[in-house]
């Protein structure tokens, strides 16, 4: 479904990604973790072309993202993305947030978009808040809406960029629950997160990154039970130690 081959990326002289290669099969859930600054967010932003790469090749469902003439808008509309800071459109009601791209990108009619939006709001438990504005809601609620907004596009895969990092602890669960449900329904997912409980529960594989490189890329249980590299071991002991 998603294949990443030998990609490298520089900001000026600084190399943020070096020779990363991995792939995600249909229906697979992959968690990307690593210390901050390791390039994990950059990596998943390359998957839908939000960040250009200088070397290497990424294909999603057979379409090359990194091709010079890639139709990125069409491709992006098929890949959902959820951000750390939700990024809901502040000047639109929750319902409008879910309808905008459906109508303007997919060309759905108003009625169809609203029906789809309402169905997804119910799914994430936010059906009573359709008329509210994002800033009238808690972080957890906003993130659930952001997930619904991406799902409204009927994506073939979902990317999550630290979806719970900006949340108060008591709101993390409500967002993770939605994500776990999604994973169990067979959605293809690439998730950058520090929630190791989530990783253990639903991830098929864990990718561990450090200094722009993929250090480990292994089945979840193998990664947690006996990490191969010292860096990963060190990281796990710090993150699980408390």
């Amino acid at each position: 479904m998603i294949s990443i081959e030998n990609i490298s990326k520089w900001y000026g002289d600084f190399r943020v990604l070096s020779n990363c290669t991995t792939s995600v099969r249909k229906g697979e859930v992959v968690v990307v973790c690593g210390p901050s600054g390791s390039g994990k967010s950059t990596l998943i932003k390359c998957v839908n072309g939000l960040e250009p790469v200088q070397e290497g090749k990424i294909t999603v469902d057979g379409d090359e993202v990194t091709a010079k003439r890639a139709n990125l808008t069409a491709l992006r509309s098929r890949i959902g993305m959820v951000f750390q800071h939700f990024e809901l459109y502040p000047h639109m009601s929750v319902l409008e947030n879910l309808c905008l791209a459906q109508e303007k990108v997919l060309g759905r009619g108003r009625k169809e978009a609203v029906v789809r939006a309402e169905k997804l709001l119910t799914r994430v438990g936010m059906e009573d808040h359709a008329k509210k504005y994002p800033s009238q809601l808690s972080g957890g609620q906003q993130q659930r809406i952001a997930i619904a907004r991406s799902l409204a596009m009927d994506p073939i895969a979902m990317l999550f960029d630290e979806p719970t990092s900006a949340l108060d602890p008591e709101m993390i669960k409500e967002v993770l629950d939605v994500m776990i449900e999604l994973a169990q329904e067979g959605m293809t997912m690439m998730v950058v997160t520090h929630e190791m409980g989530f990783a253990r529960k639903v991830a098929d594989r864990v990718i561990f990154m450090d200094e722009g490189a993929i250090v480990e890329d292994r089945p979840t249980n193998d990664f947690f039970d006996n990490p191969e590299s010292e860096r990963a071991e060190d990281f796990l002991s710090k993150i699980l130690g408390h």
């Binding site: 932003k45 839908n48 939000l50 808008t73 069409a74 491709l75 992006r76 509309s77 098929r78 890949i79 993305m81 951000f83 800071h85 990024e87 809901l88 459109y89 502040p90 000047h91 905008l100 791209a101 303007k104 990108v105 997919l106 504005y133 800033s135 009238q136 952001a146 907004r149 991406s150 596009m153």
Partner: protein, 239 residues
């Protein structure tokens, strides 16, 4: 001080009609210029933020030229110099046949100048929109122009209503410079009344009061607009 006060002069039919006509021209020049300036200012302001380098450079050049040359000089250039620079036929048309040349010239000069100032505010407004929102719109497949149309501009225009208010007031005040190219707007009419009646104090007091009234109405309108377009609970606005 041996000044012969005579407020009644302002209400004599001839002078009153001069004031009313001056008020009319002031409002017409200012509002026409404002409408044009909003459109051009929005385009140029957007132009300063788009990814395309050429468009950015052209927009920046526009702003630097029109913002940095004094408005009075710009009025003179449009009125006295431009007709000479154009091809003969056009120049002759501007000087002889163009309807209401003082009015049209004043509107063009004031509009292009004000547009450069609005452009800077639009740019600033767009830059205050968190970059993550652009990423989100892009990630959902919206094109660059759709992102501007549905996300960046609606948010940034709401944010810049307060600075636009002072720009809106300024356009009325700046319109007084049109008197230098012969438009009989409010200031010119007051000056004329002063010359005819020797009641300068009364004449310019009348102008002052009318300008203040225009400003108060304009401020009131903009406050209504601000209230109406406020994003519930958003940063920088009251909950």
């Amino acid at each position: 001080m041996n000044y012969n006060w005579n407020w009644a002069v302002l209400f004599e039919e001839q002078y009153l009609s001069w004031l009313i006509s001056g008020f009319g021209w002031t409002v017409s020049v200012a509002l026409s210029a404002w409408c044009i300036a909003l459109v051009i200012g929005a385009l140029v302001g957007v132009g300063k933020t788009v990814p395309n380098r050429v468009i950015r450079a052209v927009s920046a050049t526009y702003v630097e030229i029109f913002r940095n040359v004094p408005l009075l000089v710009q009025m003179f250039i449009w009125y006295f110099a431009v007709p000479e620079l154009l091809p003969d036929d056009w120049g002759r048309w501007m000087k002889r046949d163009m309807p209401n040349p003082e009015f049209v010239t004043a509107v063009i000069a004031l509009a292009l100048y004000t547009a450069s100032r609005i452009a800077e505010q639009v740019r600033a407004g767009i830059e205050t929109v968190p970059p993550g929102l652009t990423s989100a719109a892009t990630a959902h497949g919206l094109s660059v122009s759709q992102t501007y149309r549905y996300v960046l501009l609606p948010i940034s225009f709401r944010m810049i209503v307060p600075p636009l208010t002072s720009e809106f007031l300024t356009v009325f005040k700046n319109s007084s410079l049109a008197l230098t190219i012969g438009l009989l707007e409010l200031t010119a009419q007051s000056q004329q009344i002063a010359e005819y009646t020797f009641q300068g104090f009364e004449a310019f007091t009348a102008a002052t009061v009318i300008y203040v009234c225009i400003a108060l109405v304009a401020t009131g309108l903009m406050q209504l607009l601000e209230k109406y377009t406020r994003i519930p609970g958003y940063v920088g606005t009251e909950g």
